[in-house]
Each structure stands twice: as structure tokens, then as C-alpha cells.
Subunit: 262 residues, 2 copies
């Protein structure tokens, strides 16, 4: 097994052309979802995130046309330092590329949104089993019946992730994840999936079917895929996201992110 690297070493590796998912690497450091929109839609998307902070916690947003990070890393290049990008026109995927140097322009604004890797690490560190990780599967995700608060063209249902947790540990899972407000925070729903309009837990809309053991309770968290869904619904003329599983690796330790705005 390859020795793990620092977040900066990984970013430079991606910049030099390496393509690989970021799952399980740069342990301890927060990773982030990417969405890039044109200036015309940036204010509405910033407002969407402000109105829906649980699925869309903003770790950092760029100024118009500026591709360099300041908060999550010192001067990382948003155009090259992620190991894969998906390009969308009118909400439809049109290209999958290694970097976006050739298509970046002065009209673009990027957003990095917190993801669930951080709180999953905290769950495991606190003795809460995470079934999909134990079974080397993707987390099951569902389109819920919760309407996001709309902003301009951005609207749609909230996507939620589910982790099946032993009843005795649900309280612990809730308290632990509540500390990670920039990583989706506490659950938005605990228990009967019907309450979220989910008819069949075994058939998620994204990810793999769940592993549920006897005595487990389904616990649901807001999910960052919500941002991609509402961007897709909005049919933006042009937008860019990270390739699924190919995230931006920040220099921020998850534990520091737990302090959130403290």
C-alpha cells in the first residue's frame, strides 16, 4: 500500500495528471465537493447554500474569475488540483476531463462544499459502525420529500444519505455528527423512512443498497449530492462539478472543521 501523502502532495500529484478517487486518502483532512457556475448564477447559488446549509455547507467560495483558494488551502488551483471534473451544458453532462485549465474563464465562480467523509471518520473514532465502509460499498442516498428552500433557478428535493446504526448508538451518532456542522451536521431524520417519502430503503437513488443489521435504526443526513441535483434541475447553460468520488482535498483537519464557526 502506498504511503499516504499530505493534502498538498496529493493536490500536486493530481495537478501533474494523476487520476484516482480520493476516498480513503489523506486521512484526517476534510474533502470537498466542487460546483462552478457562471457569474450570472453565483449570487443565487450562494443564497441557495445560505438557505440550505445542511446539504450545502460552503467551506469556501471564490471571487469571480479567481481560481485560487485561500481558506481551505493556501493557493491551491481549483482548475487542476482535483483529480477529475465533469462539465455540464444545460444541466446535461457533456464532458469528463482531467483539468479545466483550457475552459476556465474570468466569468466563473467556484464553490467548495463540505462532505460527509469527515463525520464518518468521527463516527468510527467514536465506536459507531459505518456499515457501508465496513462492507466496502458506497453510501446509499435517496431523494427525499423535503423541499429545499429555493433561490433563483436553484430548487428541488433534498438528497439524503442513510447509515444504519444500532439503536444503542443512535444518540451518540447524533451528538458526534452535530459537532460537524460544515460536514452536514446532525441527522435530519431518524427512523421510519416513510417520513422522508422513501418507499423502499433497499433501492437507493444513488450509491449501493444498504447493509442493515438486526437492531439497526435508519439514520438520515443531508447530502451534498443535493447541490448537483439542484444545479442539474436549474439547467444552467454551463457548469462544472468534480467527478463523483474525486474530491478536493483541503488542508483543514476534520477536527478543526468540527469547530466550524467557533
Amino acid at each position: 500500500m502506498q504511503k499516504d501523502r499530505t493534502p498538498e502532495e496529493w493536490r500536486l500529484d493530481f495537478r501533474s495528471g494523476t487520476v484516482r478517487p480520493t476516498t480513503g486518502i489523506a486521512g484526517g483532512y476534510a474533502q470537498a465537493n466542487l460546483l462552478i457556475v457562471t457569474r450570472e448564477y453565483a449570487l443565487d447559488f450562494a443564497s441557495f447554500c445560505q438557505r440550505n446549509p445542511k446539504p450545502c455547507p460552503v467551506l469556501e467560495m471564490g471571487s469571480v474569475g479567481d481560481p485560487y483558494t485561500k481558506l481551505v488551502a493556501d493557493c491551491a488551483d481549483i482548475r487542476t488540483d482535483i483529480p477529475g471534473y465533469w462539465v455540464y451544458c444545460d444541466g446535461v453532462l457533456v464532458d469528463r476531463v482531467r483539468d479545466i485549465e483550457s475552459i476556465w474563464n474570468d466569468d466563473l465562480v467556484w464553490f467548495l462544499l463540505g462532505c460527509s467523509f469527515g463525520f464518518e471518520e468521527a463516527l468510527m473514532a467514536n465506536g459507531v459502525p459505518v456499515r457501508h465502509i465496513q462492507n466496502k460499498l458506497n453510501c446509499p442516498m435517496y431523494i427525499s420529500n423535503i423541499d429545499c428552500l429555493p433561490s433563483g433557478p436553484f430548487c428541488g428535493k433534498m438528497v439524503v444519505s442513510m447509515r444504519a446504526i444500532p439503536g444503542s448508538l443512535v444518540a451518540r451518532a447524533t451528538v458526534v455528527t452535530s459537532r460537524y456542522s460544515l460536514s452536514h451536521g446532525a441527522p435530519i431524520w431518524i427512523g421510519d423512512p416513510d417520513g422522508l417519502g422513501i418507499e423502499d430503503l433497499s433501492s437507493p437513488d444513488f450509491g449501493d443498497a444498504p447493509v442493515i443489521e438486526a437492531g439497526d435504526v435508519p439514520v438520515f443526513w443531508a447530502c451534498g449530492v443535493t447541490a448537483q441535483q439542484v444545479a442539474s434541475n436549474a439547467k444552467l447553460p454551463f457548469s462544472i462539478g468534480h467527478a463523483p468520488g474525486h474530491m478536493f482535498i483541503t488542508d483543514i483537519p476534520n477536527e478543526q472543521l468540527a469547530l466550524g464557526r467557533i
Copy 2:
């Protein structure tokens, strides 16, 4: 003494023409600072708040041209429901008005930012004395040596508020306020004012001189006046703020705000 009213009753009272400071009324409910900018500067200001969440925690922002709140109150009118507005041109105060119905237009975007009233209530409820309230004074505020992270034309030093707290209660004050991340959160500095570049604690830049008792430690929090200062520094062609002390009263109980993004 007048019986207290609900937040909505107070807002309707202001809408009908009443002018008065909001200090000490609608107890238990969060109040908010107002800043209104033109569309041209709204994205940069949203980004400024994202980069400086401790002085500038956004409770809600409007869509371009839409004067009605959705999160902090159901359909409050940002143009009339605050008991006093100050209007600025090129960063200079040019008018003080009761409402802004006649100057509102489709190019404006409003921001409501959390204020410190909420955490002061929590401090007192937790047995931490708040000296300026005990002495019926304004809180002392200072321009610190901390540079805010800039965004577009918005830049400047962070304004901090100071509360002198008995040494035995500083830890409690820290933990209690850390829960209120949308009300400036935990202190940004505890102890020697020199570290913030404050030469004379007895001469604040805003508010009244502090009351400090034997055994007290100066404890500093990020302050919402920062937003007004950077807006003034930016010399925006046009902007509007609340009249000092004349805040927006939200429908959100401070305790619920304590949950922040949970």
C-alpha cells in the same frame, strides 16, 4: 412598563411608524443587523461573510429585488419592519429614515447578520455577569489589528466587542458562547488587549468605556460592526444599514439559533 410583544407584533408596530431602539425588547428572540447593497456588490459581500463568519454570520440574505424574508420570519418586509434605517452614498451617511419603501428598487439585495444580544442573554442565564448591561451602558467595541479576509471591495480590520469576565467564569463564558455560532460564537481573543493591538482598553472606538472589576479578564468577541466598517471602507455608491440599536427582530428563539446549522 409596557407588556412585551411578539416579534411579529413589534415588526408591525415599526411598520406603522414607531421608532425606538430594540435593545431589551422581544426577549428571547434573535435580533439582526441589516446591510443592503446593490446587485453589483452582493456576491462580493456574500463572499466576504463566508470568509469572515465570526463577525458576519448571515442569518438570511434576500434574492435580488425581493424585500420579503423567508427564514428569519415569514414574509416580514425588510423595507418597513425595522424601526430605523441609515442611508449611505459613497460610504458616507446621507440620510436617516423611518422606512425605505420610497428608495427600495429591484437592484437591491439585503443581508441580515447575527448580533451579540443572543449570546449575552445566554451568558446571563448561565450566571456570567455582563458588566455593560448591569451598568446600563453600551458594550465597548474596538478596531482590532486582525485583518478580515478581503472580498472584492470589502476589506478592513475586524471590530471586536469586549466583556470583562471574572477569571473563574471565562471558561464557562467561552463554552456557552461557542454554542451560538450565528451570534459571533466563541471569543476570538482572551486576555491581554495588546495582542489585538488595543492600546487603551478604557477608550473604545465605539460604545461606552468598559466597567472592569477586580479579578476580571478582558474577553473579546468578533463584532457585527465589522460589516458596517468594511461597507464604509468600500465606499459603495449606495448602501443602507439599520440605525444603530434599531435592529430587525426575528421570529427565531435564541435557543434555536444556538443549534445553528445543527
